[in-house]
């Protein structure tokens, strides 16, 4: 049998030629975004403006419908929503200079804004919004609840266009509370404790938990601390753990848990109990109240501001916006901002209504005046007005990357604090503080 084989020299030549060819093809300069835009503007083809969006948000709010409507009303633009969370890919694309996506979300400022700005993922929006020709461009900034705008900003620049906000609220079963003799919302910790005791007594045969927490720093003790202290944050941007009011918050939390007014540790298995209708109240995001309404009936759950340590004490509540940003080196930054203004801006009443119906609280004052306050179909969402007022009077959380650091120290030590009665609130607070500061020290680039 005869084999026709390459000589080593031929093989090496073929390999070298192929490699050089592939390398040349790979090194060919990509068309600059401007060029692509120029060709698109001639009418030959639409500009494809891609937005990377978290899947949970796509399922919750009608972004797809907005993209379709915008694309239909703009002959030269096609908005594509890609359901993904791959910001590492975006960072890599930015580093390479060729970026496929123009928009990115969902961004929760207390978790993401510093890291997204520092890593160069997103860019400021003020100038892009200022020159947007979409209806309601400037209203998007002026009409936004000022504290929500502050939350979406970093170093005096707006980086995120929020479409809704979340705040920590007291979500409660008004039917359970009323039957236990407490038809009104508890406004202070003492009222909350008294109501919880009565609900426990009332619901002991049904194994009802009078209250619950969601197992995160902001929803649990963090919110208690903001409800107690006028200035809950230290100059370092940490929660003021060692303040007298913070220690009282820890003690109050332990009292609720130890007296079995909550699930074990305050939050163990709370969600399954909540689903089964065995939780009478939960201090958590306002959307949890809407989840309760969806599960057990609109008339069963009420959402109100959290109880404060004393009447009218504290710095309001913890809150944050859910929003989208513009990717650095985006191929179509103006177009994507135009879409944000069109879709999420206060002029788009249909989208605002969809946001409200999803249980999220809108970010524009005008939405409250034009929809929630006056439209009969939205009467069941009037509780949102109190949330708007609550957030208006609240401080944004500090702009840093300390949340998860504190959260991890907190969830570790709060369990020890609950399980070991010999640990005092001072010791617990000090341990959370020390662990957090130790981790923050590690974050310093040497």
């Amino acid at each position: 049998m005869y084999h026709r084989s390459l000589s080593r020299r031929q093989f090496l030549q073929a390999t070298a030629i192929t490699t050089v060819g592939v390398a040349l093809a790979a090194c060919q300069p990509a068309a600059a975004p401007g060029e692509a835009g120029a060709s698109a503007s001639t009418g030959a083809e639409k500009k494809e403006v891609r937005i990377m969006l978290s899947s949970w948000a796509v399922n919750e709010v009608p972004f797809d419908q907005m993209a379709k409507a915008f694309s239909e009303s703009h002959a030269d633009i096609d908005i594509k929503i890609d359901s993904s969370d791959d910001n590492t890919k975006l960072i890599a694309q930015i580093a390479s200079g060729k970026v496929d996506w123009s928009g990115y979300g969902i961004i929760s400022p207390f978790l993401d804004i510093v890291s997204n700005v520092s890593s160069g993922l997103i860019q400021p929006l003020d100038e892009l919004i200022a020159v947007s020709k979409e209806e309601g461009g400037m209203a998007l900034i002026d009409d936004m609840i000022p504290s929500v705008r502050a939350d979406a900003s970093y170093e005096e620049k707006l980086y995120i266009v929020p479409y809704s906000f979340e705040n920590i609220t007291f979500n409660w079963r008004n039917d359970f509370f009323a039957e236990a003799g407490h038809p009104d919302q508890p406004k202070t910790w003492d009222e909350w404790y008294a109501a919880a005791k009565d609900v426990k007594e009332w619901g002991k045969d049904q194994e009802i938990f009078p209250t619950a927490f969601a197992g995160a720093l902001w929803t649990d003790t963090g919110a208690l601390i903001t409800s107690a202290l006028e200035n809950p944050y230290t100059s370092e941007g940490m929660l003021d753990w060692t303040a007298e009011e913070s220690l009282a918050a820890l003690d109050f939390y332990r009292k609720l848990v130890v007296e079995e007014l909550t699930p074990p540790h305050g939050f163990d298995g709370w969600f399954e109990s909540f689903q089964k209708g065995k939780v009478a109240s939960v201090q958590a995001q306002s959307s949890r109240g809407v989840w309760g309404q969806n599960l057990h009936g609109v008339d069963k759950w009420t959402t109100t501001p959290i109880a404060t340590m004393k009447a009218d004490s504290g710095a309001g509540t913890v809150y944050w916006g859910n929003g989208l940003g513009v990717v650095n080196k985006a191929p179509f930054p103006q177009e994507v901002v135009d879409f944000y203004v069109y879709a999420f801006g206060p002029a788009n009443i249909d989208f605002q209504k969809a946001v409200i119906q999803s249980g999220k609280t809108p970010v524009y004052n005008s939405t409250y005046d034009k929809v929630i306050s006056v439209e009969p179909d939205f009467a069941s969402y009037k509780w949102m007005i109190d949330m708007r007022d609550d957030v208006t009077n609240s401080q944004p959380v500090p702009r840093n990357t300390f949340y998860l650091i504190q959260h991890q120290a907190y969830v570790k030590h709060i369990v020890e604090f609950i399980d070991d009665p010999t640990i005092s609130a001072e010791q617990c607070a000090q341990r959370i503080w020390d662990d957090s500061m130790q981790e923050i020290e590690k974050q310093q680039v040497k």
Partner: protein, 330 residues
Amino acid sequence: MASFPDVERAQQPAPQRSAWAEFFYQVRTLRSQKWGNLWGYVFVAPALILYLIFQAWPIVRGLYMAFSDYRWIIPATHGWSSFNGLDNFTEMWADETFWTSLGIALKFTVVYVPATMLLALFVAVMISKVKNAKLAGFYRVVSYLPVILPVSVALVIWRSFYHTEFGYLNYFLKSSLGIAKPPNWLGDADWALWSVLIAAVWMTFGHQALLFLIGIYNINPEQYEAASIDGAGGWAQFRYITLPMLKPIFVIVLVLSAGVLGTTVEVLVLFDTGGGPAESALTTGLYIYRTAFAVGDMRMGYAAAMSLVLGLLSMLISGVVFKMLRTERA
């Protein structure tokens, strides 16, 4: 089989060459023999290129990152300038959380690996005894189901099982055994790791059972017949035929299990808080994930250094397993 040119070359009388010419001829021949048929390289090239891009390069990059202060959200630390020598390893040496998490991971691995293996072996042996082919197939499918069950579904099942107030397990303990205060399986630091471990064993043993079953089916039945004639009972047959013949499978199973040392198992999502109550289930893998992708500046350099140490430990364990269970085939 030698190709025609080789045969022709062999049949020709060796030409007279000078010493230098002879030397270069020998070198060329040697290289030619060494390279073999060059088309082979063309065929392996796609796999090799993919391996280099997706395996070799990440390893090299990970190695570099392990010796740097690479922080995801600080682009200035992404280049060569962030090289910091052994700083990450010095920090790791003094990092209490790292050692605690490694201890938890070791504890998990030491129980998880034998538990999974024994359960898998038991199930495989039981299935192999089933004579009815259809029934055996049914049992094989049932034992493998937890492996292919979506993780989210498995987690819902186990959370419902372990729920402290309304879980099936505590309901049984309360109603049937009269235990008034049954454990808080996922919320108590003493129970949490073991509760998760049971779920992890359930979710993975099917894969190992299948491997053992393949090994058992490959054992010549005549060996069992011969042993039976010699008077060997069931246990003796298992002890002296099945177990030794499954030695290569044990090697595979143990080496694959060495990766469990990191224990980034999905079942850890069972907890309301990341590392379990009071971090009682914070394994090294979870700590590495947290360092690299969640907390603060996302210190991927330090996380890579921890991963390197963990990888070396896993390699060491695999090496020991190979050494101890060396067979003709594995």
